[in-house]
């Protein structure tokens, strides 16, 4: 799919920028950590329901949530990590159980889950993602779509050990 290739390219550029920032950070004596962990975003955990089932697709689909999961410090991709996703869509509200689903990252640390079209709620078209499996520290993300007409959204996790 064309949009996916574009996303991948964007992702590589963004990843490169993040890596470059991390490497430049290494040059500073005070920061020898490398890739910094992603902090939770304000409002990220709103309407979170613990233990969303792992699904092939949320509802009827038509919209793609994509992203990556990497380890803080060295930036190594993390495979098999469970990412929970929910949003206000054409098929349900944020708090509805049917609006929630989870997926696992592949061997490259990438995930993608098809879900219904996200529609603006509380003034912004946005989605919610959570890493809450215990091995690493819990992170809640709340990415905002550039346009309500977008049919995909991406979010990236850099996790640190719990």
């Amino acid at each position: 799919m064309n949009t996916f290739v574009l996303n991948r390219r964007n992702l590589l550029v963004a990843g490169g920028c993040v890596l470059a920032t991390g490497v430049s950070g290494l040059l500073l004596p005070a920061r020898a950590e490398g890739l910094a962990p992603t902090p939770s975003m304000p409002g990220g955990a709103n309407n979170y329901l613990k233990g969303a089932p792992t699904v092939d697709r949320i509802g009827k689909g038509g919209f793609w949530m994509t992203g990556t999961v990497r380890r803080a410090g060295d930036g190594a991709p993390l495979a098999g990590q469970r990412i929970q996703i929910w949003a206000h869509t054409t098929e349900g509200r944020e708090g509805d159980e049917r609006s929630h689903g989870a997926t696992l990252t592949d061997k490259n640390g990438a995930f993608r889950l098809e879900m219904p079209q996200i529609v603006p709620i509380f003034g912004q078209p946005h989605g919610h993602l959570a890493y809450d499996s215990g091995e690493f520290k819990t992170v809640f993300l709340r990415p905002v779509m550039r346009s309500a007409k977008d049919t995909s959204l991406e979010a990236h996790f850099v996790l640190q050990p719990a």
Binding site: M41, P42, G43, G44, A45, N46, N47, H88, T89, T90, R93, E94, G95, V119, P120, I121, F122, G123, Q124, P125, R142, A148
Partner: protein, 214 residues
């Protein structure tokens, strides 16, 4: 004032308020919203319309209303504004409690939230002080010093809040309504200042009319 002009002014005001409401009523987003959320949204739009009426009333720009009646209407519409804001916030709270709590605690990720919350508190503050004005024994001058800055906070807060939201309001009608709210506020502030400096009456048309003492 000629009847045509009077009609035109009132028709323009009705259009300025009703067109944005009608445009929002046609929003495709409504299909994916609960009745409570829809009600909360429209309460917000109506509140913006009331914010437009307030400076027009107090400035005496609406024909057919005496200064006394204009001020009475200003009081009642102020009360209606409090109700509209309460329905707006209450409905949003029911729709998504965590998002509303974030907004009220100024920890929301959405940039428009603090503007709305500050405007809300300013509206409540004006309403409370207005209700207690006689009991507090506030003189006209003191009241003006309190009300004017709060009115500016309400107008600026409401307009920025409304403009930044991506919701059911149609962009052009929303921008027009917000521009009119700003224009009306600036005009009334400027006019009242001129009238005070000249020492003329509150409203030229009301000269000779007997006004009950507050």
């Amino acid at each position: 004032m000629r009847l045509a002009k009077v009609t035109l002014i009132w028709a323009a005001l009705a259009a300025a308020i009703c067109v944005p409401i009608a445009a929002a009523a046609a929003s495709p987003l409504l299909a994916w919203r609960d009745p409570v959320y829809i009600l909360a949204g429209f309460a917000g739009i109506i509140a913006m319309g009331l914010v437009l009426v307030q400076p027009l009333l107090i400035g005496g720009y609406l024909p057919g209303l005496s200064a006394y009646r204009g001020r009475r209407a200003h009081h009642w519409i102020g009360g209606a504004l409090v109700v509209a804001v309460a329905v707006h916030v209450g409905g949003l709270w029911i729709t998504s409690p965590p998002d509303m709590i974030d907004a009220l605690l100024f920890s929301s990720p959405t940039p428009f939230s603090p503007w709305g919350v500050v405007a809300m508190w300013a509206i409540f503050a004006v309403a409370i002080i207005a209700a207690l004005r006689r009991r507090l024994g506030l003189r006209a001058r003191t009241w003006r010093v309190v009300h004017m800055p709060l009115a500016i906070v309400i107008v600026v807060g409401s307009v920025v809040h409304g403009i930044l939201i991506e919701g059911t309001m149609e962009t052009m009608s929303k921008a027009a309504l917000c521009a009119l709210v700003l224009a009306a506020t600036i005009k009334v502030m400027a006019d009242l200042r001129v009238r005070r400096k000249r020492g003329t009456s509150f409203r030229p048309e009301s000269v000779g009319r007997i006004e009950p003492k507050a």
